[in-house]
Symmetry: C2
Subunit: 167 residues, 2 copies
């Protein structure tokens, strides 16, 4: 089973295939595609203590502080992405913590503003169901952002598969 | 004049807008779009001494050795991108030099294989003419890849604007 197989279904619009397959910023692609500004709407944001599972994911110790954020990326009220992220507070460069805890800044822009050199490693791409989007099929992908050889952030992005991507 | 204005013309296919606007790997996007492997065809590759202009671009000294590469990115014989790059030899991590001088490895894959943490800064995007593509209008963009706060590579990508992007 290849990482990219989930994107090969013919009913997936090209623009969605691209956003789900890029190793760059999804927000930037959405803005280029639509010619409009992407708005980030925060659904939840809090600081938690890492459970053993989260600690393993982020390669930290259980109990370490982690920023958890659940947001949607919207263009003119249409939701294109539901994005969930986990970021260990202790690994965040100075200044970035405040930006991440603000509700309205996409992660790609935060990395850019702080001029960070990073790498994105895609871990999985699959078709799933998410109550958030009702009966629509959803592409879910997981990736980590690596900074100074450690996990700066784990991200799960969910993309509804429907006509909204015919842009 | 905004960096992205050149991409706002309505006659530019979405898939081309995206490839020209991404801060990720163009090769990866082309492979996701077409579902096929991208082939790199080297037109020229040599090591030169930096002229004063090139030295300024790369923030090195005139006379420093620079790898210059001109390649096309093809999918089944169709040329999607003409890419020219300049890379100071002294800044290349061990092992990367051999890969870059081989003809058939896209730069995005070289960075990934060597697990480099980098940043891409787009410098310009504009409509131009290039004899290489005949009478077709061409989108040209320039960007630098930053590694350890220095310019690892300067890249110019030219994308022909026509029906081949309706994929």
């Amino acid at each position: 089973m290849n990482l990219w197989d989930a994107l090969k279904r013919e009913d997936i619009p090209s623009s969605l295939r691209i956003c789900a397959g890029t190793d760059g910023s999804v927000t930037q692609l959405l803005e280029v595609l639509t010619g409009k500004t992407v708005n980030v709407r925060t659904q939840e944001q809090n600081v938690i203590k890492a459970t053993p599972d989260i600690a393993e994911l982020l390669e930290i110790k259980a109990g370490d502080e982690v920023n958890r954020r659940l947001v949607t990326l919207n263009v003119e009220e249409i939701i294109f992405v539901l994005a969930s992220s986990l970021a260990p507070l202790k690994r965040m460069p100075k200044g970035m913590k405040d930006d991440l805890m603000r509700s309205d800044i996409p992660i790609g822009r935060i990395l850019r503003d702080h001029r960070l050199e990073t790498r994105r490693d895609i871990l999985s791409i699959e078709m799933v169901h998410r109550d958030f989007f009702g009966d629509i099929p959803v592409i879910s992908r997981e990736y980590i952002i690596i900074y100074k050889k450690k996990v700066l952030m784990w991200i799960n992005e969910c993309f509804p598969v429907d006509e909204r991507w015919r842009i």
